[in-house]
């Protein structure tokens, strides 16, 4: 093994076998941010895979890998946040700005039901005119149908509260009363305000994201947690994100799953930033980096039972391999996906393909109807 410590090489550089010691202790004690970052940088790919696979197997000894048939519906692409990593948002005056009509929404839900779908994942931009009433109306429109509603990431919840002069608690109470079933963990990006200042300065900070999740959990809602990496963050920021999610889960127990994925640079302002190239080269926003981060996520967050692969950003092949790097959930058929697709990435998987891919890897496919359950 050659000397210098390339990211992801697992070369035993200056720190000797320190990663080995950290890996060995990761089961029993919470690593520090520095140690977790060192794992990301230096532990060999297969050592990470093995350690993550061990955790996955102890949590899911039956070898089940779940997936869901659901649909992504993005009710609007108009957004006042304007994050530099996002290719989806539009200014209200843009020619292709939209707010989904009631008819279009109904049609999408009917299609979903006819395909055996059981859930709608509803997310949208932070529309300047949208407050709690608009959100409630949307929830009721969805819930006219017999379908689960997984909707409104923390930045949207925060936005509704702001617009309508309500507390987070009140917004969630009203959304639940209208029929909301659970909350997706989007908008987390990297839960480190230094990174957020660079890529999403107008989005809520990490503590506000956490506050929405704590309140949702307090009201008995299950949520997911996500992480978008591979933009400009250092490994320490990824480590901080993972440990913050772990700590939150220790307090609430409300996260049903953790879903990391990579930043998709196509058509984004960030990818045109001259500073981006260098950080992208050093970062984890590629297939090998994805597997490393997936494995470290599984290791660092043992208290969330489910870790999900992202075939939408990685494709079926690397996603399948992810099942050996700590993941136990294949996510959803999506039916429609707009956000990643705006960045020019268009992987597609049918339910049949998802099932065949899980089987081929030697796992048991299990169709779930909502968030991964706790049993």
């Amino acid at each position: 093994m050659e000397g210098s410590a390339a990211p992801g090489t697992g070369s035993r550089g200056s720190t000797g076998g320190r990663w080995e010691e950290i890996l060995r202790r990761a089961d029993s004690e919470r690593p520090t941010v520095e140690d977790a970052a060192l794992l990301l940088r230096e532990a060999p790919l297969f050592a990470l895979g093995r350690a993550a696979d061990r955790v996955r197997r102890s949590l899911h000894p039956d070898g089940a890998v779940a997936y869901i048939v659901d649909r992504n519906i993005n009710y609007t692409n108009i957004c006042v946040c304007g994050c530099s990593f996002c290719a989806f948002f539009r200014d209200p005056s843009a020619p292709d700005a939209y707010v989904l009509s009631g008819e279009a929404l109904s049609k999408k839900i009917e299609e979903t039901l006819s395909l055996g779908g059981t859930q709608v994942l509803l997310q949208g931009g932070l529309h300047p005119d949208w407050g709690i009433e608009e959100a409630e109306r949307l929830v009721r429109a969805v819930k006219r149908y017999p379908i689960r509603l997984h909707g409104f990431s923390p930045p949207e919840v925060w936005h509704f509260a702001n617009r309508s002069g309500l507390t987070i608690r009140e917004v969630i109470v009203r959304l639940v009363a209208a029929g909301l079933d659970s909350i997706p963990g989007g908008g987390a990006e990297i839960l480190d305000d230094e990174v957020r200042a660079k890529i999403s300065p107008r989005k809520i900070g990490w503590e506000q994201w956490a506050a929405v999740m704590r309140e949702a959990h307090r009201q008995g809602l299950r949520t997911s947690a996500t992480m978008m990496f591979g933009s400009v963050e250092a490994p320490e920021s990824i480590a901080r994100h993972l440990l913050r999610v772990r700590d939150l889960q220790d307090r609430t127990g409300g996260f049903a799953s953790f879903i990391p994925w990579t930043f998709q640079p196509g058509n984004t302002a960030l990818s045109g930033d001259p500073g981006f190239g260098e950080s992208a080269l050093a970062g984890f926003g590629h297939a090998v980096g994805y597997l490393r981060v997936l494995a470290v996520s599984r290791l660092l967050i043992p208290n969330i039972r489910t870790v999900q692969v992202s075939w939408v950003t990685m494709g079926a092949k690397v996603a399948q391999l992810g099942l050996f790097f700590g993941a136990n959930d294949f996510g959803s058929t999506m039916i429609e996906e707009n956000v990643v697709a705006s960045a020019g990435v268009a992987f597609r998987m049918s339910e049949e393909e998802i099932v065949a891919t899980i089987r081929d890897a030697g796992f048991q496919p299990l169709k779930r109807e909502g968030p991964p359950c706790s049993t």
């Binding site: 297969f46 093995r50 494709g315 399948q320 391999l321």
Partner: protein
């Protein structure tokens, strides 16, 4: 760990040759991390951290082919709407573009055209060599070589001698598919047999030309027939040493006559890793990013692969069968992808001379 795998691991670490049973056990296991570790070990013992790529251009002069293999979405019968044959000018224009992009290789393979005479191929090589002496001409699969000998009424040795005189530098490894006659009868009944393919390659190597070897997997073949295929390659390589690289090719079902899903990531990685572990007399295992996609190609650098082919520029054969990858990767994209995997990018020429080596990534 399964007992069979433990034995295999010991053999790999000791540098001992694997048996056909070992190869089969590797294909069957789902302990993919162990297979990866072993293949990575075997690869790095041979090649260190270096990963090769080439700046090249594919040219497919015609898609008209007297063979109509079931697995092929590229071939057309003469007179069909999408049938084409490039003129010499069209071939030269592509070569010119390649030359401007500092390509070191032209990769030329095509269908078995019913009317073009052997002289056309000789003339193509001569013209390209005269106009672009800096580019290596890697051309014609064993299937085309056999066809030339039939249409020209010449022996294999004579055909190869004349092609070499005209400028042929080396041969690619296509047309091997799966050697097993039973599989061949189902997927390419008109194509030369596996025996003949190997015979042509033996003559190629005897003529002092290097070649590659491929294996088309993920269609109707059994795991046993894959192992049989690799066994026969290893035997020939023991005799001639003329193969440079082994290139497993993932079958793409779209627009073909074989109903089958795409290969899975595991299937792709196993083919590459077993190639590395079983074919101990091959220096290079190549993952063709066009076939498996750039993401899996990058991951495969940890599964025994030390070559990700090249810039390609225009690819017709796999794209006709629905390949999703683009047709071109720039040098900078290839270099970045290799470095991000923690390896050292090396631009090579066709016969693995170093054209340029990038320094190891410094974090």
């Amino acid at each position: 760990m399964e007992a069979a795998l433990r034995t295999i691991r010991d053999k790999v670490h000791a540098g001992h040759r694997l048996s056909e049973e070992d190869a089969l056990a590797l294909f069957r296991t789902r302990d993919i991390l162990l297979v990866g570790e072993m293949a990575d070990f075997a690869n790095r013992r041979k090649n260190g951290d270096r990963v090769y790529f080439i700046v090249n251009r594919h040219i497919n002069p015609t898609n008209i082919c007297v063979n109509r293999c079931q697995f092929c979405a590229f071939s057309k019968t003469q007179g069909e709407p999408l049938a084409y044959t490039m003129t010499m000018e069209e071939i030269l224009r592509r070569a010119e573009e390649a030359s401007l992009q500092k390509a070191t290789e032209l990769h030329i393979v095509g269908g078995l055209h019913p009317d073009l005479p052997f002289d056309f191929y000789l003339l193509t090589l001569r013209t390209l060599r005269e106009r672009f002496p800096e580019m290596h001409l890697q051309a014609f699969t064993a299937v085309e070589i056999d066809y030339f000998s039939r249409i020209a009424g010449l022996t294999l040795d004579e055909v190869l001698h004349q092609l070499k005189e005209a400028g042929l530098g080396s041969l690619p490894g296509g047309g091997a598919e799966i050697f097993d006659p039973e599989v061949r009868n189902r997927i390419c009944p008109e194509k030369i047999s596996g025996d003949r393919w190997l015979e042509v390659m033996e003559a190629v190597h005897a003529a002092g030309l290097r070649s590659n070897a491929t294996m088309l997997y993920g269609h109707v073949e059994t795991l046993e027939s894959r192992v049989d295929h690799m066994r026969r390659l290893r035997e020939l390589q023991d005799r001639t040493g003329g193969f440079q690289s082994f290139i497993p090719l993932a079958f793409h079902p779209k627009n073909t006559q074989i109903a089958k899903g795409d290969t899975t990531g595991l299937e792709d990685l196993l083919s590459l890793a077993v190639g590395r572990l079983y074919l101990d007399n091959f220096a290079h295992i190549k993952s063709f990013w066009i076939m498996v996609g750039p993401k899996l190609a990058q991951v495969s650098l940890h599964f025994g692969v030390n070559d990700i082919d090249g810039t390609v520029v225009e690819e017709k054969i796999t794209h006709a069968a629905g390949a999703q990858a683009g047709q071109e990767m720039t040098v900078s994209e290839l270099v970045t992808m290799i470095r991000q995997a923690g390896r050292v990018p090396v631009e090579r020429d066709t016969v693995y001379n170093v054209v340029r080596e990038w320094p190891q990534w410094q974090a």
